[in-house]
Amino acid sequence: MITYELMLLLRIMPKPELVSTLKRTAESIYNKGGIIRKIENLGTKDMPYKTSVHGVVYNKASYYLMEFNVPPSSLHDILDEYGRDIDIIRRRIYKKAEPEYQECTLHEELQPAPYRKNVQELITQARKLDKPKFQYNTGLDYYPFQK
């Protein structure tokens, strides 16, 4: 069972209309035999760029998020249905990704460059490409004869 996330950008409307739009979108999921897990309002804000749909230009939108399960074959129909809804500016469905656990390495990253592990690895890698230099094996750190 794949959980999907639906990101909806709705046009700015008074509350009764907003409720009916959300209901419409939810019902189209129910009609496909789906389950809704969560509905979230992410606020009303400016869009990153202006968008024109259904012959109107929008600069602002109400962001709504829905989590739901639905047979994967019906995703296309759902998106198609939303595409024809004039109250929806943008819609997109993602697979819900489980958050990955990552260990915090900030204290390492804050160190100066030569102390960082990845930088040291890079340096050793670069040293491998150096031209081989002849070793005299005299046990001295200088060349004892005149050069």
């Binding site: 069972m1 509350k15 907003l18 409720v19 959300l22 209901k23 939810a26 019902e27 129910y30 389950i35 809704i36 897990r37 969560k38 509905i39 979230e40 309002n41 992410l42 606020g43 009303t44 804000k45 709504y64």
Partner: protein, 220 residues
Amino acid sequence: MLKALNNFKLLSMTCETFSPNSLYQQSVRWGRKPLWFPTAKSKLFRVSPRKRLPKEEEVEKRRLYNSYRTQVKSIKQYLEEKYSLENQEAFDEEKHKMEIEEDFIQCSEINDKWNEEIKKSREERVEKELQESIEDAKRRLEKRLKIYAEQRETAEEAVRQVKEASQHFITPDKLDAAIEYAINNPVDYNFALDLDGNKIRGRETKPPSKIEPEKISAKA
């Protein structure tokens, strides 16, 4: 020739542009008469003196040749003796057959012995391989069963989680309330980190400033 060489040197020195290393230039000449020339008239009837070896070397050489000849002669005599018809035994058909039979019996005895040994070692090996393969199969079966159990466990875990979560699913009769709640409670996942590692939640919230902004007061 020398003159020609000198001339050539001069010439090559004058046209240095063609040869960068004019000092080392030499013209190649034959050291003797060319091979296809006949013997010179002056050398035609010359008889060169016979080469004479030193006395000791001559003696040593003679000794070596003598011994060599003796050895070869003896070998030759030996072979002649060996393969002469007089010394050959008459070919006996019966005896030859008998020999072949005896040889065959001996060979087959050795062969049987070897076969016996190989059979023994083969049986041992096969037994060992069988045991090993049985053990391997058992091990694999165990591993596979373990994997199946783990898979079942994870599947059951997933089902359990979904069952638990299903209590909070938004069913059509709960939809109105959920929409109402969502509209009234906007969520903001944005946050910022300051240098002390404090999370400041919200997209628009401003961090509490430590320094109070200076109050501008009208001059008295």
